[in-house]
């Protein structure tokens, strides 16, 4: 037995080293134009876009990933704004990034396609003068339900509290969105710093708890499609996937108010290869490429010029409806005390849902 396990070990090590050398050859050899060190979630781009960029510009792409925006901030801080060339993250974290001095101002002369950006997504709270960021996708949280499984007609968050939906609702695990759901039902702002209002929302949420079957971020649409749940509050990309798979599902923009979010790109203050970052952003701003990107991602197109290139079957999902009249509000970071109240409320809610 000693011999065979020894052989397995040696084989493992050999294979590891051989493959390691092979990979080192291909990756460490500097590409003609250098490398773009990208930092964002995995699976944001179809392989064609990445390969196309490398082929055209000669920049190799070093695709680094994070799971949460907070992880990104921790790593960026530890690297003192260096190591990464281009970061794509959520709006609220970018506000902190800029406040901590970890992003550099953009030289818009290097972005020929800058004018393709849809203006309604610019001038937002995290970058009011558009000095640091370029938006690359927007989303709202909507309610999606299966009319065959649900007897009532859902028009807003309040309807989710209905007793007929017991143990059949799924929500994303985003505590600001779900706490915000209750805040909206009470007619408050997502970003209120008033502890008593947050606690009132918490009380309201406890009423929703018996209806909750699952709380999760990833692939929530699967549960809707498999019949595990009958209604859900989901991210835009999940809504896209769900509706494409089952066209009978109904999408509802909640009447009480909608949480709006933007994903944006920025260049860290000490980026090693900012030129590569500009090249990539410019490439991604091209209408044809952008359309491909949004179709893959499933989020709203922030690129006006790309809207014409998006194929018909996707158009419905990737652009806000023209008769959209809902009141939207963006979720921003709140102060320490409010945060604590939020997490307490959220913990109680999850615990109650588990009874």
């Amino acid at each position: 037995m000693k011999k065979t396990t020894g052989i397995i070990l040696v084989l493992c090590i050999m294979m590891g080293l051989l493959a390691g050398c092979g990979a080192a050859e291909t990756s460490k050899s500097p590409a003609k134009g250098g490398t773009l060190t990208l930092f964002t979630w995995e699976g944001m781009f179809p392989q064609e876009i990445l390969d196309g960029f490398t082929k055209e510009t000669g920049y190799a792409i070093n695709y680094n990933n994070f799971d949460y925006d907070e992880t990104m901030l921790a790593k960026l801080q530890a690297a003192k704004g260096g190591d990464y060339d281009l970061v794509i993250a959520d709006d609220y974290i970018i506000e902190t990034v800029i406040a901590e001095g970890l992003a550099q101002k953009l030289d818009k002369s290097k972005l020929k396609n800058y004018s393709n950006i849809n203006p309604i997504y610019q001038g937002q709270f995290y970058d009011p003068n558009d000095e640091y960021t370029v938006p690359f996708g927007a989303g709202v949280q909507t309610i999606v339900f299966d009319p065959e499984q649900v007897d009532i007609d859902i028009k807003g968050y309040t309807d989710l509290f209905h007793p007929s939906l017991r143990d059949s609702v799924g929500v994303i695990a985003n505590y600001r969105v779900i706490n915000g759901l209750a805040l909206k039902v009470l007619g408050e702002s997502y970003n209120t710093e008033d502890i008593s209002k947050i606690e009132a929302a918490g009380e309201k949420l406890l009423e929703l708890a018996p209806n909750i079957r699952v709380i999760k971020d990833d692939n929530l649409q699967d549960d809707l499609l498999s019949g595990e749940i009958a209604a859900a509050v989901m991210y835009t990309s999940q809504v896209t996937m769900a509706k494409m798979a089952n066209p009978d599902l109904k999408i509802v923009f909640p009447s009480e108010g909608i949480g709006f979010g933007i994903m944006a790109a920025f260049i860290p203050s000490n980026a090693p290869n900012a030129e590569a970052a500009y090249a990539f952003m410019d490439y991604l701003l091209r209408p044809g490429i952008a359309a491909q990107y949004f179709e893959w991602l499933g989020y709203y197109s922030t690129n006006r010029a790309a809207d014409d290139y998006i194929s018909d079957e996707y158009k419905e999902f990737l652009t806000l409806p023209s008769d959209f009249a809902g009141n939207t509000e963006m979720i921003q970071m709140v102060g320490a005390e409010a945060e604590e109240a939020h997490t307490k409320v959220w913990t109680k809610f999850k615990s109650a849902a588990g009874q």
Partner: protein, 297 residues
């Protein structure tokens, strides 16, 4: 005369052996002191600092983080973690001990095969295996289809996102630890002792409890330790199979770090978790009087 010369020579040799043995301790000592104590001290310090408004900490001493833990909702998470850890460990023993024991009794050829058989699933991402369980547990998933096919049930069980599903997932994830520990201990068991006892008239069960169980106790104990400790901190299984509805200390710590950005509270929670877990192991050791695992707190 020659005796004293002999003993002096022995003493000299013993001194030399002690010297070399101390060298074997060196790597562990060095590594632990440099790379583990350092970060741990930082974590400890962190738990006494005050959180900054939106991100990070400021250098202000406070006991607030520890006092905050006394909130009922947070205390509940400790209790839930403890409950789940106990349940997981118990089921792990029920399934894992016999498994490791039976494995040790196989012939050499099969021993090797079983070792590999158990290891191979572990090299497949745990996240993917959890997704496999989702497919099994979900409404009209694999389990439902099998049971409905045999005719035991008529409607989907709706097992997914429930506490039992989480328990199954936890046992599944930690089973190999128990199996390996028990196997490692049982494998070197001298079966001839058991046979001798049987020849002397002991019944099967008696021989088992007086000899086998006692001699495999170190393995069982290390299996318990290796199961209990991680299950206090593991939370992504509760997240995925429990639909995030089972709130454990691990989830809480992650949320405090990642969402509430309250690093110092998360550190305080971790320190308390660490102390509680250590206490459990210590008590366990005292209760079972196992001298063989000397020094293992």
């Amino acid at each position: 005369m020659s005796c004293t010369a002999g003993t002096n020579a022995m003493k000299g040799k013993k001194k030399k052996t002690a010297g070399i043995s101390v060298l074997t301790l060196l790597p562990l000592y060095l590594f632990t002191i440099v790379f583990i104590t350092g970060p741990l001290i930082y974590m400890f310090i962190l738990s006494f600092l005050t959180r900054a408004e939106t991100w990070g900490v400021v250098n202000e001493f406070t006991l607030r983080n520890y006092l905050d833990i006394l909130e009922p909702i947070y205390l509940k998470t400790f209790f839930e973690s403890f409950k789940l850890a106990i349940i997981t460990t118990v089921f792990n023993i029920i399934v894992g001990y016999p498994y490791g024991y039976f494995m040790a009794k196989l012939n050499d050829k099969w021993k090797k095969r079983m070792l590999l058989l158990i290891m191979i699933p572990f090299w497949i991402s745990s996240l993917m295996r959890l997704y496999g369980w989702i497919i099994i547990f979900r409404a009209n998933g694999v389990l439902d289809r099998i049971l409905m096919g045999i005719g035991i049930i008529n409607e989907p069980l709706k097992l997914l996102y429930t506490y039992p599903a989480v328990a199954v997932g936890m046992v599944y994830a930690l089973l190999p630890f128990m199996i390996f520990s028990v196997y490692s201990s049982a494998e070197k068991l001298d079966w001839s002792i058991v046979e001798a006892a049987r020849d002397l008239g002991a019944g099967r069960w008696q021989a088992f409890t007086t000899i086998t169980l006692k001699m495999t106790l170190p393995g069982l104990m290390s299996g318990v330790v290796l199961t209990f400790i991680p299950s206090m901190g593991l939370f992504f299984i509760a997240d995925i199979l429990g639909g995030n509805k089972v709130v454990l200390v691990g989830n809480l710590i992650q949320e405090q770090l990642m969402k509430a950005h309250n690093w110092s509270f998360a550190a305080a929670l971790s320190v308390v978790l660490m102390i509680l877990t250590s206490l459990m192991i210590y008590l366990y050791r005292r209760i079972t009087h196992v001298r063989d695992l000397e020094g293992l707190v």
